[in-house]
């Protein structure tokens, strides 16, 4: 257990911005929640406070990109994705503006703050917009490496991170490529697929299953759009049953995306473990995860059920 991904993002972007004056960070009165205060203090000329105005933050970023900056708009995922959805669609994706949307405290990170602060629709919404990529890093090291990859990426990207500290999955030397999934375990019985914070649960479930004699392939689909069909197809050549675990509404997220990929392949079964189409029970993000079955035990239970079928 280390520090939140948003913290390592802000440290990485500060370090990179010191070397690259074209990096511009924008925030929406969110420097505390993004943990970007040090950046604002150290590089005021590369920082823009937009205030509580998400639509304007994306529009201003599109203008900054037009003039040659590499803008990173940072704010809570719930507001950035939905309040400024049309600006993301038109000013960024349609216009192919080189702007990165850094969405923090995604999913149910804000726990008991309720549905206003949950972003369980962002992937569904953005996946239907052409020409924007969607990335969910799963741990600190991957966040650092994908943040560095983003700098080389021309065009709009939505990167969503959680609020809390997450356990380490990767180690120094592991490599990541935007658009390319990482296979963490290989097994021939079943596939378990996650993105963002659920990857750790998938991996833990895979380890426990292994000790019980069930061999799972576990994959981290950090890039949800464009979906890595090649890796998924290489998995489904070996295993015909997949469980997709995600911190998103059951409607339109990673599970839906993978289900549609195999909608005409009757040999592949996709089971979705996601959050139901309802407003969440009051609780911390851990409690919400547990309540709706985003847990190691429930993944294992579902694996066993699926294997009996």
């Amino acid at each position: 257990m280390s520090i939140p991904c948003r913290k390592v993002f802000s440290e990485t972007i500060l370090e990179e911005a010191k070397k690259d004056a074209s990096i511009m960070v924008l925030c929406t009165d969110s420097r505390g929640s993004v943990m970007i205060g040090d950046f604002a203090d150290e590089l005021p000329e590369q920082f823009v406070e937009v205030g509580i105005a998400e639509q304007n933050s994306i529009g201003i970023a599109a203008g900054l990109a037009n003039i040659g900056f590499k803008p990173y708009v940072c704010g809570p995922a719930c507001f950035l994705s939905m309040r400024s959805a049309e600006q993301i669609k038109v000013d960024l994706a349609y216009s192919h503006s080189n702007v990165k949307v850094i969405a923090i405290s995604g999913g149910v990170s804000y726990g008991a703050l309720g549905a206003t602060h949950h972003s369980l629709q962002d992937i569904a919404l953005l996946n239907a917009i052409p020409d924007i990529k969607i990335i969910l890093p799963s741990d600190n090291y991957q966040t650092i490496m994908l943040t560095k990859e983003l700098l080389k990426e021309e065009g709009p990207v939505y990167l969503r991170m959680g609020r809390g500290a997450v356990p380490d999955i990767y180690q120094e030397g592991d490599s990541f490529q935007i658009g390319k999934a990482n296979v963490l375990m290989e097994g021939e019985d079943i596939g378990i697929i996650g993105a963002g914070e659920t990857v750790y649960y998938c991996l833990e479930a895979g380890r426990k299953l292994k000790s019980g004699g069930i061999h799972a392939t576990v994959a981290d689909l950090h890039t949800i759009k464009p979906i890595d069909k090649d890796t998924l197809h290489s998995i489904t050549r070996k295993v015909k049953k997949l469980i997709v675990v995600e911190e998103h509404s059951i409607n339109g997220g990673l599970g839906s995306i993978i289900s549609s990929l195999y909608s005409e392949d009757t040999a592949v079964t996709v089971r979705k473990l996601a959050l139901p189409d309802t407003n969440m029970v009051t609780g911390s993000s851990n409690e919400i995860f547990k309540h709706y079955g985003l847990s190691v035990d429930n993944i294992i239970k579902n694996v066993k059920e699926l294997l009996k079928k």
């Binding site: 511009m24 105005a53 037009n66 600006q87 216009s95």
Partner: protein, 270 residues
């Protein structure tokens, strides 16, 4: 000045022809805003049509993107792309669609969802200031468009960052698709509203070339605030049966109406 006025009439004729040929378009607002666009593209803005991505160019954003026809005719006339492409407007697989699209050389961004342009233009102006580049950022908004809340987010930010290199024009033709702006959603005293947001506000006859140009060079001298120019215009300007007639917000003329309009604008196709 006379050559600019002539140019505006020529552009009006071209855009009418283009709308007729493409069988789609927004006549009224394109005709009301023609003089402003001609003033910007033939006098005020520092641009290089041979090098549309020239780093130091002034930028223009058409926030009221539905009035793209006049802008397309101007970009073609200035040499950003071949004039023959204008004949493909709204046709199958054309790059010229009913709203600005930045696949077209000279078009900075895609626009047409109202209420977006002022933020983008503010971002350009802010970026130019941060880079210490002498670049002016221009945006043309509609008056009906002022009901979009995002405009007021941008108005606040532009003033906060003292973007005196930002010039925002409102094509104040008093009409929007459902009727007069005051009947649909009262705009009231726009000058007072923008002044309260900290803007330098001026008001002109937006169909008077001399006023448009003289006002710009005056406004540019006022430092420390973004500039809002309320350009009072006539919707459908130049074609008597279209003027101040909300029916022509969009719509395609018949062949007879086209010919009548072209006659009023001083002759046949240019």
């Amino acid at each position: 000045m006379e050559h600019l006025e002539k140019k505006a009439q020529e552009i009006r004729k071209n855009l009418l022809n283009m709308i007729y040929e493409g069988q789609a378009g927004h006549m009224g607002g394109s005709l009301s805003s023609t003089d402003i666009l001609v003033a910007l593209y033939y006098d005020i803005m520092r641009i290089d049509p041979k090098n549309p991505k020239w780093e130091n160019r002034d930028r223009f954003i058409l926030s009221k993107g539905h009035c793209v026809e006049g802008l397309l005719c101007i970009l073609a006339d200035r040499g950003y792309f071949d004039k023959s492409i204008l004949h493909t407007y709204s046709q199958y697989q054309s790059i010229l669609i009913g709203h600005p699209n930045n696949k077209v050389p000279g078009m900075e961004v895609c626009s047409g969802a109202l209420g977006h342009g002022l933020s983008i233009a503010a971002g350009i102006a802010l970026g130019a200031k941060r880079k210490k580049m002498d670049i002016r950022s221009f945006v043309l908004m509609g008056d009906g468009e002022q009901a979009e809340g995002s405009i007021w987010e941008a108005a606040m930010a532009a003033s906060n960052y003292k973007l005196d290199n930002l010039f925002a024009y409102i094509d104040r033709n008093q009409l929007q698709i459902s009727g007069t702006t005051e009947a649909v959603m009262k705009l009231g005293d726009l000058r007072a509203k923008y002044e309260a947001f900290g803007w330098d506000v001026s008001e002109i006859d937006g169909n008077n070339m001399q006023q448009i140009i003289a006002n710009f060079y005056e406004a540019e001298k006022n430092k420390g605030k973004p500039h809002l120019i309320i350009a009072n215009t006539i919707k459908g300007k130049g074609v008597s049966f279209m003027e101040n007639n909300v029916k022509w917000h969009h719509g395609v003329p018949t062949k007879e109406q086209l010919n009548e309009a072209l006659q009023e604008l001083g002759g046949v196709r240019s």
